[in-house]
Structure formats: C-alpha cells, structure tokens
C-alpha cells in the first residue's frame, strides 16, 4: 500500500525514543495532555507514542494500513499537546524534533490515497466536496445568519469577514458570527462577507488528510479573494485562521489574516469599543488552532482583562497547556474520538467549573459548541455558561 506521505516524515519518526511522556500526566493539571489518552478508551496505539510506533512499523513493513488502524488514527484531534509536552525542539529550525501531529497527518494522507477512511470521515469529505460545506446545506444559505443584521456583502470594504462553516450553518456558530459582526460594526470596522461565494476553508479537510480537497477549497477561496480584491481577512474561526495563515500562503495566497479577537483587542485599546460588565468571574479556553498552533494566547485575555467588572481566572491547564475541547482535527464533524464521561469536552468543562467561573469564554465556534455540549452533559447549565469573546464584549458594551 502507498506510504508516500509517511516516507516524507521518516526522519521525524525515527528520532522518537519512545519515552511516552507525550501522553501527558492526568494528575498534573497544569500540563497539557493528550485528549485521546485522557479518555482511557482504546489501546496504546491511540497514544502519541503508540502512533509513532505504528508509523515506524508501517515504514518497516511490519504493518499495512487498514480500516481499524484508520479508525484509531482519526481519533487524534490534532491539538498538538504532545508537541508541547515532548518539548524536544530542533535549535536550527525551532520546530519540534518529534512532531506527532505531522506524522498523524501523513498517515491520514496515505489513508486517503489508499481509499481507506472511516465512514464519518468519508461522509465529511463527500459533504464538503458536493456542498462546499460539511453541513450538507446549500451554499445559498451561507448568509442566513445575517438575517436581522446589517451585515453587507463584500464590495471593497477594508476587511472580509470570513465566517466559515460553523459560523454559517451551526446554530451556536451563527450566534457567535452575529456577535462578532455586531462588535465589528460597533467598533467602526468596515467589512463584508462572501455569503454563498464562501467555501469551506479546508483546514479540517487537510487535518483529515484530504490534501486534494484542501487544495481545491483553498484555490477556490484564493481565487475568489483575488477576484474581489480582498487583501485583509478577519477570521471568525481559529481553524480558518490557522489554515489561511499557515497553509494558504504556500498556494499563492496574498492576503493578511487576523483572528477576530485581534481586531476587537485593537478596538478596545483605541477606545473605539468601550465596555463594562456587571461583575462576573470568567475563565478562558484557548482554542488549539489559535493557541498551540499559532501562539496567540494573550490577545483574548487582554480583551477580558480590559473589561471592568470581569475577573479573569485561569484553569490549571491554560495557554500552551490548555486541554483540547475535542473538536480539532476534524473531530468536530466526524466524532471519532468518543470518550463518554471522559470525553474531552466534559473534562474541559469540569476544569472550567473548578475555577468557580460563571462564564467560560471561547474564541472558536467549534469550541463553543463542544463546551456547551459538555456543560449540558455535566449538568452545569445553572452555574456555567459558554460565551464567546464577542458576545462578552457586546454584553459589556450594552451595559456601559
């Protein structure tokens, strides 16, 4: 079976000494931890070390790709906790010596090329390919979230607000998109949206190993951006932000991308947005694609700290050590991780509840949905509420 992509990361694989530290330590609640390991479901192959071992065995010819192996590999959420824990960095490149997410992605790419993906992953690819989004909803409905808002189509404004799939079609994401749009409007930011011309960003398609689909989506978006003269993009979703910043540039994209929290922070700093909260304790969940993948930890905190009446308290696992909500790497759509009572979102919600915060602040529509589900499953609806940063800002602006 073809293993071309795995061959490309061979040197990375061979450098792992197999210590197993990458799994993380359950009881070290201030350190990152692999969400797959945390579920206590599955076998050693589901741990980062196990995945590298599998990769070695594939390269050495002891194993071949199979559907059960694919099911194991697709449980990884691409959260990069293992990279943080391992902490073995190459001084010349500044990159991790052992980058398990890259190894997993290579195996997923091989799986795709060998037509050996689990049904939920295949369904995701098909939905995105056919519909331009994973929700199987007509593209024409992409701007449904703008009903009863003043949001305009892009027509040369300074920024494009790239809403993304969750922001366009998921109820929770749509709510977040409305708050972000309101906050931008209130801050005087000129922006427009693509509506039905917006395509899925491709971040999760790539994470799931479908590089062909990713390239198609990316090129479509890049071409649309070029045609409309878009040079500045505000991303609602850290997944979009991540792939725009790190993957699109290699495909000829020429636009700047910022996450919406970066814009809001600027508006608050400049005084364009003023806010005051009635008094609440808030904790912030770092999205993996904003935090570990792009090192943006402080901006969302600066916003929360700048709002009088809000008290920011940290979960023990925060910033680069934050625990994944379980929705990364395409798992939001494929739900391959599982976990029951120890599913990643429930663990994270428990960690948030421990802080005594009433608000669990997020900056990602997928995290918002995952964590709201976790709160419901944990029965914490009365004491803890998920709010995205824009929602908090707008609530605070209203109370000013």
């Amino acid at each position: 079976m073809e293993m071309n992509h795995l061959q490309e990361v061979k040197e990375n694989i061979l450098k792992c000494m197999g210590c197993g530290v990458c799994r993380g330590v359950w009881e070290r609640q201030d350190q990152a931890m692999c969400p797959v390991w945390a579920t206590n479901i599955g076998f050693e192959d589901g741990t980062p070390r196990g995945r590298v071992t599998v990769a070695q065995d594939l390269l050495d010819g002891h194993l071949d790709y199979s559907l059960p192996l694919a099911e194991s590999l697709y449980r990884c959420t691409d959260c990069a906790s293992c990279v943080v824990i391992c902490d073995a960095m190459d001084p010349e490149t500044g990159k991790p010596i052992i980058d398990v997410p890259s190894i997993v992605r290579a195996m997923r790419m091989d799986l795709v090329e060998n037509s050996m993906v689990p049904a939920p992953v295949r369904d995701y690819f098909k939905a995105v390919h056919v519909n331009g989004n994973p929700y199987k909803i007509p593209q024409a409905e992409r701007n449904k979230w703008t009903e009863e808002t003043n949001v305009q189509a892009y027509s040369g404004q300074e920024y494009l607000l790239y809403v993304g799939d969750a922001g366009s079609f998921d109820e929770r994401g749509m709510k977040m998109a409305r708050f972000v749009a309101e906050a931008l409007e209130k801050g005087g930011v000129e922006f427009g949206i693509l509506g039905s011309e917006e395509m899925s960003d491709g971040n999760d398609a790539l994470a799931l190993g479908e590089s062909g689909l990713f390239e198609y989506l990316a090129q479509t978006n890049i071409n649309t951006f070029k045609e409309k003269g878009i040079t500045k993009v505000i991303s609602l979703d850290p997944h979009s932000f991540n792939t725009f910043k790190n993957d699109y540039q290699g495909l000829g994209a020429k636009f700047e991308v910022v996450h919406y929290t970066q814009v809001l922070a600027g508006l608050i700093t400049s005084g364009a947005l003023t806010a005051q909260y009635g008094g609440a304790k808030v904790t912030y969940h770092d999205p993996c694609y904003l935090g570990r993948h792009n090192d943006i930890y402080e901006v969302p905190r600066e916003i929360l700290n700048a709002i009088p009446g809000l008290e920011l308290v940290e979960m023990k696992r925060n910033k680069k050590n934050a625990f994944c909500c379980g929705g990364g790497g395409g798992n939001f759509y494929t739900d391959m991780l599982g976990g029951g009572v120890n599913s990643a979102n429930r663990i994270r919600v428990r960690e948030a509840a421990e802080t005594g915060a009433e608000i669990l602040a997020v900056a990602c529509p997928l995290c918002a949905k995952m964590l709201e589900d976790g709160i419901r499953d944990e029965g914490l609806e009365e004491t803890l509420a998920v709010k995205d940063i824009a929602e908090i800002v707008m609530e605070a602006a209203g109370k000013k």
Binding site: E11, C16, V21, V25, W26, E27, D57, L69
Partner: protein, 481 residues
C-alpha cells in the same frame, strides 16, 4: 470492539464477555504498539514480542477471570503497566502471537488515603505521578522512583526493580518497595490473595500495617518478580508527612579524588544530610554534585545544608558557578523528565547505561565502563556523554553513563548492533567483575541476573514457580531457569 484475528476465536469471544468488547483487541497495529518502551531508538533493540491479544481489565475479578481462562486454554500471559521501563520490560523473549497481554492501566483508582494510619491503597494501574499527587493533596509524601513517574505504574514498578527511572529519593529512602505494606494479587491459577496483614490475612486486622510480623514476608515475594508470580492489582503503602522544605543545590567538586572522598563521607553521615545526591561530570570537566535536601522545617534544612557544605568544602569543593550546560544537566537529574527533554539542543537520542554496583568499586567500574564504550560505540556520532554516580542507601551506588547521540545517528542497523553489543558487554562487565546488576536496555536483565544465581537459589526459584504456576502461563521463561 475490534475484529477478531490471530488468536483462537473462543478466547477472543470469552475475553470480550469478561471485560467488554471495547477493551479487547487482536488488531495487529494495536498489539504491536505494546511492544515498545523507552530508548527504542538506539541500543534498545528493545521491541518486545507482539502479543496475540490485548485485554484491558477494570477490576481484580476481571483479571482473575482472564487468568483462569488462560489456565484453561494454556495461554501465556504478559502483564504490562505504563510501559516506561528503561529495561524495555517485558523482555523481547517473552510473549508472542499466542499470548495474552494484560494492560493494567484501566485499573487506575486511588482506593483509600488513610490519614490516621498514614497509608494509601491504590490499584496497580495507577501511575506513580497520580499516586504522588493524590497523597500530596492530603498533605503526605510517598517515596517513589522519581523519573519517570508519569510513565510507570504501581504494578510495573513493584514488579521490576525501579521500573525504569533515575533514582532520586532512592539515594536515602531506598525504592518504594520498602514502603509497601500489602498487595492484592491474582495468582497464576486465578485465585485472588491479599498479603501483608489486614483483611484476608488476619481475621481481626482491618488495615495492612506490617508485612512480616509472625509470618514470612509473602508480600516481598512478589516484588521484582517481573509479574511471573501473579498479576498485582492493588497495593498499600505507608505515606509520610509531606516534607515542606525543599532545598536543591549544585556543588563543584573538581577532581575524581575530591569528589569521591566527599561522596563517601556524605554517604557515611548519619542522618543523611541530603535526600537526593548525584555526582556527574562530562569527560575532561569537573565533577559536580546535584543534591536536594528535604526537611520538615527550615531549621532542619539549614542544619543539613551546613553539614553538606562542610563536607564539600573539606574536600576541596564549593558552590558551583553553574553555566547553561551544568544547569541543564542538573535539570536533567532533578526534573521529572528524561534526558531528551532536558537537553533538547543536544541530540536526537539518549541512552542511560546504569548499573547497581558496590559503592567502594563504583569509580573503578566507571573507568572500565568508559573504556568499554570507547571501544564499542566510540566511533558513533556522540554529542555528549556524562558519567554519573548516585548512592543507593549506603552499600551500593547506581553508576552509569548517559550517551546523547548526535543527529547523525539514526536508527540504522549497524549503529544499533554496535550499541546492543556494548550493552551486552556492559552487563557482563557489571555482573562478572563487580557482582552488580545492570539495567540493560534490551530487557534481558532478568535472564542475565538469573544466570548468576547460585544453584540452590535457582532450584528454589524453580520449585516456587512450579508450585505457583504449574501450567507456566505467567511470563513463561522470564528467568530462563
């Protein structure tokens, strides 16, 4: 549930009925993942044999049912804990396609922390870091091996020597085996026994408070057994009031002579003026001590530190002017991490070659070991090598060399063969010349140790194993006796 493949279908189905189908696999990729431990990259060669089926029981009773099934079908069993053993335990000659591997990590509950009696009872799949953290929350301390406590399970550590880790508190406290009060074990016939006093051994005693009062130390029989006498499922340990004062330090000791004199004086001081002590040096550079003093009060720590510093000074040493390299090395020995994390700038692979040797012979052993490594792996791309000696109580030291292989060394077969040969010769050197015990990365230490047993010891072990395990299903052939 995964698709049934290489083992007898009835075994697979019955395993599923015992633990639930989601905790049984015969998938080859999953089975092979269990064959790996640390230090695989070089010298380890250390991939174990692939088991035929992996099962993850959640209770002692489930383990018992598994063992009974194994007896019925004459299927060998390999128990496995956290997979953190530097000795790549279980060794590569144990197990195989017709074997059951019991992954114990689902049994991960702390069952009881008894503040009054100062004991903790935990399932044996609990990782040492979890055990340590949980008792710490209650204001107590438990002596464990320090590195890598986040990888080693209670059962794995008790079954091996130190479970694969760099000694730390061991310098003065011994291994955690000494603090073990009792065990729950599933014997090779599937029976469940409790050792160490308390319910199950004494009809009136409710707690496990001693191991050897009025009876042989049956608990001790299971320590270091490699899992060959049964599967440990629960353990009770003594815990101690948490020593709140923690004073680490580094001293520069200069020459071999100065370091060694000071080392021996420190070891001979009563009570110990340190909790951890480790001497290390790079070739051509001075020796350093990295040490930790734990104490209940600042006054106690101050007195110990003064005694320590006086001995250092009297032997030509003094406070270290530690630069980056020394600080990193100190971190390596004090941090709960392995070498690769502590020295990320160095290399891609690391090897701990260490052995238990009689203290008075430690420096001589180190000299021999350096010559041996020069001869065997000296031509490999070695970025850094570090000699180290740490006391293990008073009679013994753990002495060895860390090798950091450079980026030019990959997992090529030639390098691996050279390293394997070096480790075999190191093991022989240690055992034959010094009567010591070497933690060989190839996981062959059990058989190697057994090859030096006196005839009467060997015969007794044979009889013991046969009486406990007539079907020879638990780790068959571990000792090769």
């Amino acid at each position: 549930m995964t698709e049934e493949k290489g083992v007898d279908k009835s075994i697979f189905e019955r395993m599923c009925s015992i633990v639930g189908s989601e905790y049984v696999t015969v998938e080859e990729f999953a089975r092979r993942a269990y064959t790996r431990g640390p230090f695989y990259s070089i010298g380890g060669g250390g991939r174990g044999r692939t088991p035929g089926i992996v099962v993850r029981p959640g209770t002692t009773e489930e383990v018992s049912e598994i063992v009974k099934l194994a007896n019925e079908t004459k299927t060998p069993i390999v128990p496995k804990g956290g997979g953190g053993s530097a000795a790549s335990f279980p060794p590569p000659y144990i197990g195989g396609d017709d074997n059951i591997l019991i992954d114990t990590l689902r049994m991960n509950k702390i069952l009881d922390i008894d503040k009054e009696h100062m004991t903790v009872t935990a399932e044996c799949g609990v990782l040492l870091s979890q055990l340590s953290e949980e008792v710490r929350k209650e204001g107590f301390h438990i002596y464990t091996v320090d590195v890598p406590i986040h990888m080693d399970s209670v059962g794995g550590v008790l079954s091996g020597f130190v479970g694969g880790g760099e000694p730390s508190d061991m310098a003065t406290c011994g291994t955690m085996n000494g603090y073990l009060l009792g065990l729950k074990v599933v014997l090779p016939n599937g029976d469940i026994i409790q050792t160490g006093g308390g319910p199950g051994t004494n009809i009136h005693q409710k707690k496990f408070l001693h191991r050897d009062a009025g009876a042989p130390d049956i608990t001790g029989m299971f320590i270091g057994d490699g899992g060959s006498f049964g599967v440990k499922t629960e353990a009770t340990f003594t815990i101690h009031p948490y020593p709140k004062v923690y004073r680490p330090g580094i001293a520069e000791m200069g020459t071999d002579e100065n370091m060694w004199k000071a080392f021996n004086q420190l070891v001979a001081t009563e009570p110990y003026p340190y909790t951890r002590l480790l001497a290390f040096r790079e070739p051509g550079k001075p020796w350093y001590f990295v040490y930790v003093i734990r104490a209940s009060t600042k006054e106690e720590a101050g007195i110990k530190k003064q005694i320590f510093e006086d001995i250092v000074k009297a032997n030509g040493g003094g406070p270290a002017e530690a630069g980056y390299e020394v600080a990193q090395l100190a971190k390596m020995f004090s941090a709960r991490r392995l070498g690769q994390q502590a020295l990320p700038k160095s290399s891609t692979m690391t090897y701990f070659g260490e052995a238990l040797v009689p203290r008075p012979l430690s420096m001589e052993y180190l000299k021999d070991l350096n010559a041996l490594l020069d001869e065997t792996v000296g031509d490999l791309d070695i970025y850094k090598r570090v000699d180290f000696i740490t006391p293990y109580l008073r009679a013994t030291t753990i002495t060895g060399i860390l090798l950091y292989f450079g980026k030019g060394t990959t997992r090529d077969e030639a390098s691996q063969r050279l390293a394997e040969k070096a480790f075999e010769r190191m093991e022989d050197l240690c055992s034959e010349k010094y009567g010591g015990w070497s933690e060989n990365c190839q996981g062959k230490s059990a058989a190697h140790s057994a090859s030096f047993w006196a005839p009467t010891h060997r015969d007794f072990m044979k009889q013991l194993k046969k009486s406990l395990d007539p079907n020879d299903i638990m780790m068959p052939g571990l000792w090769r006796i």
